[in-house]
């Protein structure tokens, strides 16, 4: 019975709503756009957070990255002098030997070089590292093997190519076993790594890494063959840098220890590098938590903005329902005379409001589902018509084009619930007002 009654009530409500199609449609628009903006806003927030999380997870949630950074120019003196900065091998010693929560500590030395095989050339990163580098960075070999501890001890003259390096320098050959030229020296190729998704930059702290254009060699080999001082000449300028280590990647055994370990690392590094400010410490887990916080702030702020439009929509609904009640005073009187209780009238008008807002909610949800596609279109327009031809906006443009809204599926029932809730909240007063009308007065109403 109750189902029949519900169906009947909704059916009658639809009849009354369809009596004024234009008015009902316009009233509904407020809710449609409110719900749409809630879903769209949450989707943008969700997309941003997902992206941030992925970036951070690529770095490894249990890793702590300690990186040399070139200090600002004024503190390094004249341009012509050798620039000495960054992590020292003694720092590595200090960190790797004194922190018990670490399971891995990888010293890394890197430099941009020209790679060559006969007439094929490519500019890439020469990375001196240890055997554990592959595991920590999720590198797998496609052919051959990665550097191992023996290569390290013997300072072997071997290297592993990144996927792009192998494909560009050895387009038709199997590179393993052959030699590749880096600057003036040759290295024997022992392996080729599989293609790996490159990481994107996180703020200014960490540049994005394209693992596919790397060549890996044992760090000791790097040290003895290239040394710490690297001089590069480009278009008449010369830069000389003396760096012992570019990066130390620390891996913590237990995720719960990451934050505490990070504090210890910070303290240790600060002892030697506080003055120069030439070392940066990046804790992906910290970034992950920040990203999570930013997501929550995003959701609250964007959600609130969207909620305002829902409230405005609700007020519109209330306004129309009050007008409807006035307009249908006579009908209310008739129903009361024929035996409708106050409750029946309340239910009738409340149902009408809820059907109105609920329908608006469904339309809004359907519109909201198109957000990712609509956003793609928006990005196209922005990139081609607003950002085109200007290069000053690269950072803004990059952030914008990196945004990929993702529908938060929990927001769909939420949005529907809110639209029904708006119907109840803003429909109750007009419905009660209708029910409280004096039947005699209502019947007399013209």
């Amino acid at each position: 019975m109750s189902f029949f009654r519900f169906f009947r009530t909704v059916h009658l409500a639809l009849k009354s709503i369809l009596l004024h199609k234009l008015r009902s449609g316009l009233t509904m628009l407020g809710i449609v756009f409110g719900v749409f903006s809630v879903i769209a806003m949450l989707a943008i927030g969700e997309g941003a957070s997902e992206q941030a999380q992925q970036q951070v997870l690529q770095l490894g949630a249990t890793n702590i990255i300690v990186r040399s950074v070139k200090p600002p120019l004024e503190s390094s003196g004249s341009n012509n002098r050798v620039n000495i900065y960054g992590l020292l091998r003694s720092d590595f010693q200090l960190l790797s030997e004194n922190i018990p929560t670490l399971v891995n500590a990888i010293p890394i030395r890197e430099s941009t070089m020209e790679f060559r095989n006969k007439h094929h050339t490519l500019n890439g990163r020469l990375v001196g590292c240890t055997a554990d580098y592959a595991g920590v960075n999720h590198l797998k070999t496609r052919n051959g093997r990665f550097i191992d501890d023996r290569d390290q001890e013997t300072m072997a003259n071997v290297c592993v190519l990144g996927a792009d390096v192998a494909d560009i320098l050895f387009p038709l050959e199997q590179p393993v076993g052959k030699a590749v030229q880096v600057n003036a020296r040759f290295y024997k190729i022992i392996g080729v790594s599989q293609r790996r998704v490159s990481t994107s930059a996180i703020g200014s702290a960490l540049a994005g890494q394209d693992f596919n254009k790397d060549i890996y060699i044992p760090i000791k080999t790097f040290q003895v063959r290239l040394g710490d001082l690297i001089i590069q000449r480009q278009q008449g300028t010369m830069t000389a840098e003396k760096v012992e280590l570019n990066q130390i990647t620390l891996q913590v055994g237990n995720p719960d220890d990451v934050m505490a370990t990070a504090d210890v690392v910070r303290e240790t590094i600060d002892r030697n590098h506080k003055e120069q400010k030439d070392v940066d410490i990046i804790v992906p887990l910290e970034l992950l938590r920040q990203a999570e916080q930013i997501r929550q702030i995003f959701n609250v702020v964007l959600g609130s903005i969207a909620a305002i439009s829902l409230v405005v929509g609700g007020i519109g609904i209330m306004n129309i329902m009050l007008a409807t009640v006035t307009e249908r005073t006579r009908e209310i009187g008739i129903r009361r005379a024929l035996g409708a209780r106050q409750r029946d009238i309340t239910v009738q008008f409340l149902t009408e409001t809820i059907v109105l807002t609920g329908t608006g909610g469904v339309i809004g949800i359907v519109m909201g589902l198109t957000t990712p596609y609509a956003f793609d279109g928006l990005q196209y327009v922005v990139q081609n018509f607003i950002l085109s031809g200007s290069n000053a906006t690269s950072e803004v443009g990059r952030i914008f084009s990196d945004m990929h809204p993702k529908i938060a599926y929990w927001s769909l029932p939420l949005a529907f619930g809110i639209s029904v809730g708006i119907g109840i909240i803003f429909g109750l007063y007009p419905a009660r007002a209708a029910a409280r009308l004096d039947p005699i007065e209502a019947l007399r109403h013209e």
Partner: protein, 232 residues
């Protein structure tokens, strides 16, 4: 004869800023079952107030209103709503149909508000169709009020008033908006219903309409000023 409705020393007073208005000032009327009464009187005589009380839309200040053996003068709003639904059938001067509903749906409206809100069964539907047939509108079931003439609309209202088989049929100037020929048709319908044993209480100020009733009650200054019996 058993009384369908009975008014005992009924008072209705309105307390306004300028003083008390005694709209009904001790009315005693008994309506036997099967009665056909016309209540007459000039405006301000209290006949509208009397109709409101009879229709269960208003409560008397004092006195009793016994409808189908039940004192309805002190019922709660919900109970009074049920009394209007179950015991009283209304026919108004301006038909008062619901514009967005069809003829059949309009006849069904009182079924929506029955106590316990049972669903509309097949036998209910059949009864509505019979009533539509009774008032001669079987071929207009899916028409809307604006597609009907005044007389047809009033006949829908009559069918609607009968759907819950009420104890009394209350008609407030049922022919006030109709031309004399259509008015006669409606009155013939009333006479027929009365002939089937229905109790009809009708308010009118037209003598020739009142002449259809068995009995005329004249109201003046909130009391019954006179009563006459016609053959009808």
């Amino acid at each position: 004869m058993k009384a369908a409705a009975q008014l005992v020393d009924l008072h209705k007073h309105y307390y306004l800023a300028g003083g008390t208005v005694r709209a009904l000032n001790g009315v005693d009327i008994t309506f036997p079952e099967g009665d056909f009464v016309a209540i007459m009187g000039s405006s301000g005589s209290g006949k509208s107030t009397l109709l409101n009380v009879l229709g269960g839309l208003d409560r008397p200040t004092s006195g009793q209103y016994i409808l189908a053996g039940q004192d309805v003068s002190e019922l709660s709003d919900d109970e009074l709503s049920y009394a209007r639904n179950q015991l009283i059938g209304f026919v108004f001067q301006s038909y008062n149909l619901i514009t967005q509903y069809t003829v059949l749906e309009n006849i069904e409206v009182p079924l929506l508000y029955r106590p316990g809100a049972p669903s509309i069964s097949a036998s209910d539907r059949e009864r509505c169709l019979e009533l539509a047939d009774l008032v001669g509108l079987s071929d207009r079931l899916d028409h809307r009020p604006f597609q009907l003439s005044g007389g047809q609309q009033q006949r829908v209202a009559v069918a609607r008033s009968l759907v819950n088989n009420p104890a009394i049929l209350l008609a407030d100037e049922p022919t006030g908006n109709l031309d004399s020929k259509t008015a006669d048709e409606i009155m013939d319908l009333f006479v027929r219903l009365n002939g089937e044993g229905r109790t009809i209480i009708m308010v009118t100020h037209e003598n020739d309409i009142a002449a259809y009733a068995h009995r005329q009650i004249h109201m003046k200054d909130g009391v019954v000023a006179g009563e006459g019996v016609f053959k009808g």
